[in-house]
């Protein structure tokens, strides 16, 4: 039975209903869809009104359907009921089949049922949704817990099996947990380590920034830091670690834990230290080496690095090469070790460092000396320490050294300057006779700079044939005839031009290069003399050649052998060669050292005592020397240049000539520049002469026309 009310009435009711309720719903339906739903519900309410036996159940179903359509807002219900109350009977009831009283009663009871159905459905829905969301929350929590457990397991595995030491401490520094690796590093049980506080883990070698950064981290001002840090192991040894500490914060960003990761770098560090030590120390003496010395020197001179002044003693052993050459390197090494020990005892104060920077070169660095005298005292002590002979391999060796001292304000110096100045000054001490110190002064430095430069270029010059020889004629005074020539070595320096022997012979002497250079001069001069003789220059008398012999050559063990070989090779009779040795070198030589000269003299080689009169020789000593000629120093002949000649000089030269002749020595004079002088000297009985009056030194081809 379809209701008798017109479909039109139901539609109008639904439209009114929709207008009142739709704004209060959260339905996903469109308004027409929702209105269609309401039309269906209106039909159900209409049917209930007209049922023969009234049953309010359809009202409950309508309330339930409204909730299902998301018409759930509390304010929706008054709208729903208000429209039913006002318009249900009007539009949806058939007055023929329903009395007004019965209609009002049924409409009221339907409203109660709609309310009950709505409330019941809403309660049910709320319970369902609450249960669903709670279950979802529980599921989510369980999933999170599971994921946490998994990540915890993963972290545990990392923590437990990591080769790194890992520890966690709270913000007071109390250690909460450490892994096995960390306990092992400290050489104790986990308990020993865990009972500690990180703040107690100090070590004297901690870098100052460690604890500053740790405090910053504990205040939450720093997220992490990394340092190399030492620890005391439980057995008292040192554990060096590469330490990384990180701050762990909670979700709100508050500092909660500190995480430390330690990598044991003890061995690596030890190896590094050993390598560094090897790289910076001299294997023989164990002293700091050249590179460490320069590092320290650079540090000291670096701008703003502290020390205001610096002192440096540059020490070089005198004649060390001779030791090596004559006694062998093993003995030389022993000597160096002994020297190093003695010097070390003198250079052990605070701010002092002794280094071996070359074969027999030592440097004492004095940082911030109280006075320049303090640096001089270091040098004095060093010389004193070396004064007692050193016993090496059963023999006593006398050690002598020359020291160059530099002292000055750090801000005015560079390391290269300091060292060059010290080096130059040391050479000066050596040139002054050695076994002494000299203090640097700018003037000597300037003079010596080119010497320094030349010294370094000598070997290349010898190889590169930059040396050549000039010859200065020697004239027989008796008749003015050419007797021979003195070979004078020159250096044709590519930058400085032609240098005389006074510029480089002392340097060659010092470096030992004089030996090969001297041998070359000897060969060259002997070859030249031979050529003159072959060509018959100088007439019937064979021309002689004079060659200078330095002190070092004098001591060279192969002097005799070498000389004889050169003469034989060229085919020059020994009597055509005269070796000139300075008076100073000759008189300081002992009998051993004179023996080679004696041997040569016995072979017929002439030996001239050069620069005679400058060495304060005991005239009585002349007898024991193997000399055949005296070469009178030019200082004696200078007084004879005047006219009339200085009477005192005349007497002296006369005396010397007489003495020489008594000892069967011939006399040669040097520096003859005027004819008056020449005449005087001839009258005084001098045998030979050389000087500009006769000829300047020149190339060998000019000799024939020289006189």
């Amino acid at each position: 039975m379809r209701p008798s009310p017109s479909p039109d009435g139901l539609r109008r009711f639904a439209t009114l209903w929709c207008r009142a309720v739709y704004p209060a719903t959260a339905t996903s339906m469109t308004r027409p869809q929702f209105e269609a739903l309401l039309l269906d519900l209106a039909g159900r309410l209409s049917d209930a009104l007209h049922a023969p036996r009234f049953d309010p159940a359809p009202g409950r179903a309508v309330g339930k359907a409204l909730v299902a359509a998301h018409c759930t807002a509390p304010e929706a219900l008054p709208g729903v009921l208000g429209v039913i109350d006002s318009y249900l009977l009007l539009y949806c009831a058939d007055p023929d089949r329903l009395s007004p009283e019965e209609g009002r009663s049924r409409c009221a009871r339907l409203q109660h049922a709609v309310s009950a159905g709505f409330a019941g459905a809403l309660q049910e829905r709320t319970r369902t949704e609450q249960e669903a969301v709670s279950r979802a929350a529980l599921t989510a929590q369980a999933e999170i817990a599971k994921a946490l457990h998994e990540s915890e397991t993963r972290f545990r595995a990392v923590f437990k099996d990591a080769p790194l030491g890992i520890g966690i401490a709270d913000m007071d520094g109390t250690i909460l947990d450490v892994n096995d690796a960390l306990a092992e590093m400290f050489g104790g049980s986990e308990q020993d380590v865990r009972s500690r506080n990180v703040l107690s883990w100090t070590h004297p070698e901690d870098s100052p920034e460690v604890w500053r950064m740790q405090r910053e981290l504990m205040r939450g001002e720093r997220e992490h830091y990394q340092v190399e840090k030492p620890y005391h192991r439980t057995d008292g040894t040192v554990l060096w670690t590469n330490l990384t500490v990180s701050l762990l914060r909670d979700a709100e960003g508050r500092p909660r834990y500190m995480l430390a990761m330690l990598e044991d770098v003890s061995e690596r560090r030890l190896l590094n230290l050993r390598l560094r030590y090897q790289a910076t120390h001299d294997a023989l003496t164990d002293l700091p080496n050249r590179s460490l010395f320069f590092e320290r020197l650079e540090q000291t001179l670096a701008p703003g690095s502290g020390p205001a002044r610096i002192g440096l003693c540059y020490l070089d052993l005198d004649g060390f090469k001779a030791v090596n050459d004559s006694l062998g390197h093993a003995v030389g090494d022993q000597l160096l070790i002994a020297v190093a020990e003695r010097l070390q005892a003198c250079v052990s104060g605070p701010g002092q460092m002794l280094a071996r920077i070359g074969g027999d070169e030592f440097v004492a660095l004095v940082i911030d000396p109280p006075s320049s005298q303090a640096v001089v005292e270091v040098a004095e002590h060093a010389l004193e320490a070396l004064a007692t002979p050193v016993e090496v391999g059963g023999r006593e060796l006398l050690v002598r050294a020359s020291i160059g001292i530099v002292e000055g304000a750090t801000r005015h110096l560079t390391s290269a300057e300091v060292l060059r100045s010290a080096d130059i000054t040391m050479y000066r001490a050596k040139a002054e006779g050695g076994n002494r110190y000299a203090v640097a002064d700018p003037d000597s430095d300037a003079r010596a700079i080119s010497r320094h430069h030349l010294t370094h270029h000598l070997p290349a010059a010898l190889k590169g044939a930059e040396f050549f020889i000039e010859y200065q004629p020697l004239v027989k005074m008796e008749d003015g005839s050419l007797e021979g020539a003195e070979a004078l070595v020159r250096w044709s320096h590519p930058r400085h031009g032609v240098l005389g022997p006074d510029r480089f012979i002392p340097l060659a002497e010092h470096t030992g290069l004089i030996v090969p250079l001297g041998r070359w001069v000897l060969q060259e001069a002997v070859r030249q003399a031979c050529q003159w003789q072959v060509r018959g220059i100088g007439g019937t008398r064979a021309l002689k050649v004079n060659v200078n012999l330095s002190p070092r050559q004098l001591h060279h063990p192969e002097l005799v052998e070498d000389t004889v070989a050169v003469l034989e090779e060229a085919g020059l009779p020994p009597s055509s060669l005269c070796l000139e040795v300075t008076e100073t070198a000759m008189i300081s030589a002992d009998e051993n050292e004179l023996r080679p000269l004696r041997e040569l003299a016995e072979l017929g080689v002439g030996i001239a005592l050069d620069d005679f009169g400058t060495g304060y020789s005991n005239l009585a000593n002349l007898r024991r020397l193997p000399a055949t000629t005296l070469k009178l120093d030019r200082s004696f002949t200078q007084g004879l240049q005047r006219d009339p000649a200085d009477p005192v000089d005349l007497k002296i030269v006369e005396g010397i000539v007489s003495l020489a002749h008594t000892l069967q020595l011939s006399v040669t004079v040097e520096g003859v520049e005027t004819s008056a002088q020449a005449e005087q000297l001839r009258e005084l009985g001098c045998d030979s002469a050389q000087g500009w009056y006769y000829a300047k030194p020149g190339p060998p081809e000019r000799l024939p026309e020289a006189v």
Binding site: P23, A26, T27, S28, T30, R31, P32, H70, T72, A73, R125, T126, E129, Q130, A132, V133, R135, A136, A137, T139, A140, Q141, E143, I144, A147, L148, E150, S151, R154, L248, R249, A251
Partner: protein
């Protein structure tokens, strides 16, 4: 410190959740006391929030139907929230059997609930993901299983982007997602704005503050700023408009004026 990828997200039911607050606005009971307290504060401060939420849902449904009518049947709904009623998969599923939906939310409760709701449905899935880290979403198993990234996808960012300040670089994240999707893909987006809202600026500021108190962000943006999210997604008609004005299906004269507190638009990747 940033949470490593393998660490699980945390969960604290005493902190209001944006998605459960949204459920409360829609009259749902998928929420807890903390959510309700915060939602009530928001509703007191800013009138008509439930209506705005409904308007958003209505726009979403219209946009889904529009997408299907344009032949786009794959949906990636980021920030989907608690699945209540009239969801994307229901609307899309009703319109086309081919429809496939992947929901993404960062609320573990929403995700767990979504799994329960979608259990047994092989055309929709939900995954835990974060809009701020978009690439893992694109590379996730559910996306791989349900969506064919060689064919256009409708990317849905409905009522989501106002939960990110500019410091989160939401524009760049949208661009990342855009680059992962093929040409023809749609961006379905709605966003809160004070441009046409009857509420005062102060009320807007108060709403932002309430969300901030709950540990979230709420950022009103102007229509101009919102339009820039559509970089590379030219807008389809009627453009970026107040939510009720986007392709309405019935006359909108009876709408609550508060629903104008937001823009909606759909763009298509060229």
């Amino acid at each position: 410190m940033e949470r490593p990828a393998w660490a699980p997200p945390g969960m604290d039911l005493s902190v209001p959740s944006v998605s459960r607050m949204y459920d409360y606005y829609l009259g749902g009971s998928h929420n807890f006391e903390a959510d309700r307290v915060a939602a009530r504060r928001a509703m007191d401060a800013f009138p008509g929030i439930p209506k705005i939420a409904q308007a958003n849902r209505a726009f979403m449904r219209r946009a889904v139907r529009y997408a299907i009518s344009e032949g786009v049947t794959q949906f990636l709904d980021i920030g989907s929230g608690i699945p209540t009623f009239g969801n994307v998969h229901e609307v899309a599923g009703a319109a086309s059997d081919a429809a496939r939906v992947v929901y993404v939310d960062n609320d573990p409760v929403a995700v767990a609930h979504g799994r329960a709701v979608l259990d047994g449905d092989d055309r929709a899935e939900i995954l835990h993901g974060d809009f701020l880290d978009p690439l893992p979403i694109v590379k996730s198993d559910p996306v791989h299983r349900l969506l064919d990234l060689d064919r256009p996808v409708a990317l849905m960012l409905v009522a989501l982007l106002h939960f990110f300040g500019d410091g989160d670089e939401p524009r760049e994240k949208v661009a990342t997602l855009r680059d992962a999707l093929p040409a023809g893909s749609l961006l379905i987006l709605s966003h809160a704005s004070m441009d046409h809202a009857p509420a005062t600026r102060e009320q807007g500021a108060e709403l932002e503050r309430i969300y901030r108190d709950g540990g979230a962000t709420f950022a009103m943006r102007s229509g101009e700023e919102i339009a820039r999210f559509f970089d590379g997604f030219p807008l389809v008609a009627p453009g970026l408009v107040p939510m009720p004005d986007w392709r309405p299906e019935s006359p909108s004269d009876q709408e609550d004026p508060n629903v104008y507190a937001g823009y909606a638009g759909v763009g298509r990747k060229a």
